[in-house]
Symmetry: C2
Subunit: 107 residues, 2 copies
């Protein structure tokens, strides 16, 4: 059984957001984003992928299209295909976010 304990996979990087691949199938992918205060994911869009962010720990600012809001633990946010989206840790605590992608990125 493919199992991931999130707490065992949290890890941060110097200089930029750390992205950890947790699970991947032909149909979807589950990643963990770890952002220190001040780190951010540059806004971008995927033409053919939907993305769901789910806040695990810490709080940040999420943007989807022209809208921005807080991302808090226990909150899920959809970034639909083709819509620009980005994430920033503008707080003082580490930010940990689960990210579900469907379909997975092409390599």
């Amino acid at each position: 059984m493919e199992t991931v304990r999130i707490v065992e996979r949290v890890g941060f990087a110097e200089g930029k957001m750390a992205k950890h691949a947790l699970l991947a199938t032909p149909r979807c992918q589950l990643d963990l984003y770890c952002l220190r205060p001040g780190q951010a994911q540059t806004p971008h869009a995927h033409p053919d992928q939907d993305k769901v962010y789910y806040g695990v720990d810490g709080t940040g600012r999420i943007r989807v299209g022209s809208e921005e809001q807080r991302l808090e633990p226990g909150t899920a946010v959809l970034a639909p295909a083709g819509v620009e989206h980005g994430l920033a840790n503008d707080g003082s605590a580490p930010l940990v976010v689960l990210v579900f992608l469907a379909p997975p990125p092409r390599h």
Copy 2:
């Protein structure tokens, strides 16, 4: 921005597991499963869908194929397409689980 605060969507049903649709796109679906102690999701398989369970609150027993293990908060488990899987709340506390599906069920 499509946003869901999980705590606002938790709700239980008499007699069987409650399943709440949180987000749906042409590529994926996010549901919330709420199981009182003693409730279960009957083991089943989807030929063309991958499913990821993510424990939010409470603990239960999850089965994928012939394997069983505990599902605890902060644990993600993959149920790949074609593999029988099921979930049971065999504990004494309510069980709340996020479920990602890709692609979404056909209607």
